[in-house]
Amino acid sequence: MNSNDLIMLLKASGYSITLSVGAITGGTILATLLVLLAFSPSRILQFIYRVCMWVIRGTPWLVIAMLVFLSLHGMSIRIGRYYAGWLALSICFSSLFAEVIRGAIIAIPETVFDSTKSLALPRLIVLRKVLIPLVLRQGLPPYINVCVMTVKGSSILSVIGVWELTYASREIIERNLTVFQTLFAAAAIYFVICFILDRLGRNLETRLAARGFAHDLAEGKQND
């Protein structure tokens, strides 16, 4: 493995990062829409949510990626491997993000709504000032967890021919048979990306903790 290979790996990791960020964004948007179903008053919509969960969560990412890619191909929709990969990854992780958001919502104690009702707060204000801030704080740790999984999950897109870190490493290996060096380098790059993500998450958590949240976890609860 020479310096050109390393540059190639770094370039490929740029694609991995872009794909991951795209899938995290897309997955979160999809998840938000799914969660709206879960909390709709209609039983049918709630059921649709559960079916989506069963199907998406119960199907391997690799299979979803191939299905998306091949069915787009079959329907003669030519959006390119890159976008197909992004779409597949967004779908794969939407179910995980959705459950994170749903979990954060049901973790809000019912008593909070007693307060918002008795204060006669308008619905939009409840959403903006109470619900969303609480969901963000409670959902942050598992959310970062899923983000890290998304980064690692982006590697499966190499199977449908999306050129990213894993695909590039395979190319290098096939060219000069430096199996271990290349794989270690790739693993190290994935590790660094995930590590930075984790640090970012922790950073955010501490910053929220300083604002009255998760304080008891961060530095021991000061009570009474």
Binding site: A120, G212, Q222
Partner: protein, 249 residues
Amino acid sequence: MIEITGLKKRFGQQEILKGIDLTIEEGEVIALIGRSGCGKSTLLRCINFLEEYHAGTISMDGVELWYRCDKNGNRVRRSTAEIAACRQLMGVVFQQFNLFPHMTALQNVCLGPRYSQKVKPDLAESIGRKVLTDVGLAEKVDAYPNYLSGGQQQRVAIARALAMRAKVLLLDEITSALDPQLVGEVEDVIRNLTHEGITMILVTHSMSLAREVSHRIAFIDDGLICEIGTPEQVLDRPSSPKLNEFLSI
């Protein structure tokens, strides 16, 4: 001022309130006492419509609050806007404080005036600071609930209810979740409020507080008002055997 007639409420098959009739005068402090599960908290929650009820009326100054009759004479819920308007007439303080954990004391207190009553931000803030000062927490305006003691949190909750400038204050076992040494500071706030002539309905397990601050005490048993009268009548000369038994525990 508040008139409750024939109030009935059931959870599933179980009837919790079996026809409550109660009239509360302006400026009156009334304590609701009774065993756990007798329906006193449910009654308080019905008054603020935190629980829907199945029959009966709750009116304030002659206007029925939460339900109305439609053209065909059916009982229907009032609109969300009407319900919100009625809720602003009352402040509620809960057993578990129910403060918003991600907001400072001041933000908690200002939320109602600012967004329910659409008061200008600076005015809302000055109202907030004033009521927090009134409950003795002037230095804690920027503290988050997690950093306050239980007694302080409950005082913030009282301030939050007062900030709405409600005519009526509903207090639901507000000292039950507190350590004994913190009860006093919260009770002091209530004592001060009685001097200001605010109408209060309080659910309490503390007979001493009920005796001290209330004009009348209602003993609720099995979903009905079993006995009602001045603290002396109810606590010193109970007429029903059930109340006698309750007080002797």
